[in-house]
């Protein structure tokens, strides 16, 4: 990642906003398509709706709540908005 402030989506705490930077390199075609069609594209803003530090989390992206498994969320890199 060339962005200094890049964190994985799992590290974003509740009610914090971030901008999606990229997906990890190893991500599959199917997963990318599913994420992209639900609104996870580079540049999109996300808001962490629920994250208890373990288990699945809920993210709001483009006005829709999406549940992500922790493994899946870890594949998304974001930049925290101040």
């Amino acid at each position: 990642m060339d962005h200094q402030n890049s964190i994985s989506l799992t590290e974003l705490s509740v009610d914090n906003q971030a901008t999606i930077l990229a997906f990890t390199n190893g991500i599959g075609q199917m997963e990318t398509t599913r994420l992209a069609s639900l609104g996870f594209t580079p540049g999109a803003e996300v808001n962490m709706t629920q994250n208890f530090g373990r288990g699945p989390l809920i993210v709001t992206v483009r006005g829709t709540r999406v549940a992500l498994g922790r493994v899946e969320a870890a594949k998304i890199f974001v930049e925290r908005k101040s």
Partner: protein
């Protein structure tokens, strides 16, 4: 109900294109597509499967202004890129069948995301209408949308609707008529690909020009190639001459990141479309969904709520469903067989047996479970329609991970508490094949109401006041066995393969009675159909085995078989009668009780309970209950496993697995109980 539907005539499943304009309903999941389809067609619909696929196909017809329209409900998909059979079906239908109008339903409450499918559909050059559904939910969330502005931006008709309240039907009818008469000219604004990929797209187009098989548009194929669509890539690989494919393949390899660029491009287009038309709520406003999810999606409270709901369903089943079931069984089935016995008093014994014991006794027993099924179908329909099911899947994600599955696999298993048959069919929501098959293999371990009925009859007989604890213990044992065998299967056959957990959490909304009613109706009809065919056939076979060769049960093939496998039964503390009872639970679980009634020669059931208590030790009784819970599922379930896996291999593997588990568990429990002095 609007005037759209006033004179709907009954039509068969086949849509006659010459006479009827054809409408395709497209939309993402959770946009209210089924509600609209049901509103339009009512009971005038046909549910089947798409050819060769385990994806439900629903079609029907409705009448507007004296003209009949055919309508096909395409599978709900988030995009049109080939990820699953659903996506392929949806786009192949639009491209090949060329419907007169494609109605794209979008959810007004999450407009941006649901317009993504519209961004794909609008490029397919079929007349398109956008239906802005769930306007009430959007208002509830503080979102205001101006349909006229959106219509002007998209360049296609936009109809605001609230399908749950049939609001907006008049606009809908008007547009349907105008579109099918070709009165409405539309000039859609197409999404554009980002400049940095434009030249690549042109190069691909240049290579594939003239080689694209019908009915695919060349532009669209080029875009799908760039997106990395597996189906289209395969199609073009065989359609193109080798050197052309080589050139295309090299281009694609250099631009394997194009998928995200194209998706971003679509969302940029959506952003431009909605900018002027939508007023978002003020930030900081806490919506109803957010408030409810603090509890329902909480890792701990959410589990309590789920357990509470399940408890409530069981309570409803046993206080309302079971008495009705018992009444049907004794009064209706019992009365009917009494009448039939009298009517057939002079008939040959085999005919009387066939009708009374085979047809009425066998199928009747299964049919008495319909009230319990209806309770389950209604509760699950309600939870689904409200938007709760996604929360149940979410809070169960951690547990499902123990089996290498994720939250989505919980939904079909949940349904299994009612009946394993809809549960196995419900595994269709799982998008990866290994995960789906693993879920199918463990699904029969969810205790269904029929098994609970056997437990509800036998547990009080043997354990008196402790029956309730024993019943809960048996449920717990089943679920623990499920998790254990699931994780073993995951480590052996499926080797830790898993699919991604990415699931939309829809907004909560007021459930719609009509939608739920139709769901209950359709599921009940399909249950009755199975009872009339598969189950009837099997009941007749079992009956025949119980009377052949000479009409005496004690010398019948069934009893001979029971005595032959008795040594296995003895490991579990059974005598041949318990073994035979267990075997006859295969056509329908509750048959176990009916068989005992026959074998112990006491027909009034009070007498049977006493006979059983005096004949068997507590250890044998406990073992019998454990085996009943874990035994191979009923034949209706086995038939549906065969249908859904499309393989006898998997079906037999499943049966063998459950046979081993149940015998091992029964033998273990029996010997443990004996050792403990029961």
């Amino acid at each position: 109900m609007s005037d759209c539907h006033s004179t709907a005539a009954a039509v068969g499943p086949v849509i006659l294109r010459e006479r009827m304009p054809l409408i395709a309903l497209a939309g993402q999941p959770n946009v209210g597509k089924s509600t609209l389809f049901n509103l339009l067609t009512g009971l005038n619909q046909h549910v089947g499967n798409w050819p060769g696929k385990t994806v439900e196909r629903r079609e029907g017809s409705f009448v507007v202004g004296g003209r009949e329209y055919g309508i096909v409900d395409l599978p709900g998909t988030y995009s049109l890129t080939a990820n699953s059979p659903e996506e392929v079906i949806a786009r192949e239908f639009v491209l090949r069948e060329q419907p007169d109008v494609v109605m794209a339903i979008v959810n007004a409450a999450s407009l941006e995301r649901s317009l993504y499918l519209v961004a794909e559909l609008i490029s397919l050059s079929t007349p398109l209408v956008v239906i802005l559904n769930m306007m009430d939910v959007a208002e509830g969330e503080g979102i205001r949308i101006e349909p006229d502005v959106l219509e002007a931006a998209l360049g296609v008709p936009v109809i605001p609707m609230t399908a749950t309240r049939a609001a907006g039907m008049q606009d809908f009818c008007r547009v349907v008529q105008e579109m099918s008469d070709g009165e409405r000219v539309f000039t859609p604004r197409l999404p554009e690909i980002r400049a940095d990929h434009r030249s690549t797209l042109d190069e691909i187009l240049h290579h594939i020009a003239g080689y694209v098989p019908t009915p695919y548009p060349e532009n669209w194929v080029a875009l799908k190639l760039l997106e990395g669509d597996t189906e289209i890539t395969r199609t073009m690989q065989s359609a193109l001459p080798a050197e052309k494919w080589e050139a295309v393949y090299n281009l694609l390899r250099q631009h394997d990141d194009a998928l995200l660029a194209i998706a971003s491009g679509r969302y940029e287009w959506i952003g431009r479309m909605v900018r002027a038309a939508v007023v978002q709520p003020k930030i900081g406003q806490i919506s109803l969904t957010e408030q409810l999810d603090r509890w329902a999606a909480h890792p701990l409270w959410g589990l309590f709520i789920l357990a509470g709901i399940l408890g409530l369903v069981f309570w409803l089943t046993f206080t309302l469903g079971s008495p009705i079931q018992g009444w049907l069984d004794s009064q209706v089935v019992g009365g009917l067989s009494g009448l039939a016995s009298q009517a057939l008093i002079d008939a040959p014994f085999w005919l009387k047996g066939l009708i009374v014991d085979g047809v009425i006794g066998g199928v009747g027993a299964v049919l008495t479970f319909l009230p319990i099924m209806i309770i389950f179908f209604a509760v699950f329909g309600l939870l689904e329609d409200m938007g709760y099911m996604a929360r149940a899947a979410f809070v169960m994600d951690n547990v499902m991970h123990l089996m290498g599955l994720h939250g989505k696999s919980f939904l079909p298993l949940f349904l299994g508490f009612g009946c394993n048959v809809p549960s196995i069919m419900g595994t269709r929501v799982i998008d990866s094949k290994p995960a789906r098959f693993l879920t199918i293999l463990v699904a029969p371990l969810v205790p269904c109401t029929a098994r609970m009925a056997v437990v509800a009859f036998l547990a009080p007989a043997f354990f008196g006041s402790k029956a309730l604890f024993v019943s809960w213990g048996l449920i717990l044992l089943s679920l623990m066995t499920l998790v254990l065998s699931g994780s073993l299967l995951n480590k052996t056959i499926f080797k830790g393969q898993r699919s991604a957990f990415i699931m939309e959490m829809p907004l909560y909304h007021v459930p719609n009675g009509r939608t739920i009613g139709l769901l209950v109706w359709q599921r009940s009809v399909s249950f009755l159909k199975r009872a009339g065919t598969n189950i009837l056939a099997m009941a007749l076979v079992v009956w025949a085995l119980s009377v052949l060769p000479n009409g005496d049960l004690d010398q019948s093939y069934l009893v001979q078989f029971g005595k032959w496998v008795e040594p296995v039964g003895r490991w579990m503390g059974f005598d041949w009668r318990l073994t035979v009872s267990l075997i006859t639970s295969f056509p329908a679980k509750e048959n176990a009780i009916a068989t005992m009634g026959v074998l112990f020669g006491s027909s009034p059931e009070v007498g049977l309970a006493q006979t059983l208590t005096s004949t068997f030790s507590t250890a044998s009784a406990l073992s019998f209950l454990v085996v009943t819970m874990l035994f191979i599922p009923c034949m209706a379930t086995v038939a549906v496993i065969r249908q859904e896996t499309n393989s006898w291999g998997w079906t037999l593997l499943n049966v063998a697995m459950l046979l081993v588990i149940s015998v091992a568990a029964g033998a273990g429990v029996y010997h443990l109980a004996v050792a403990l002095g029961f």
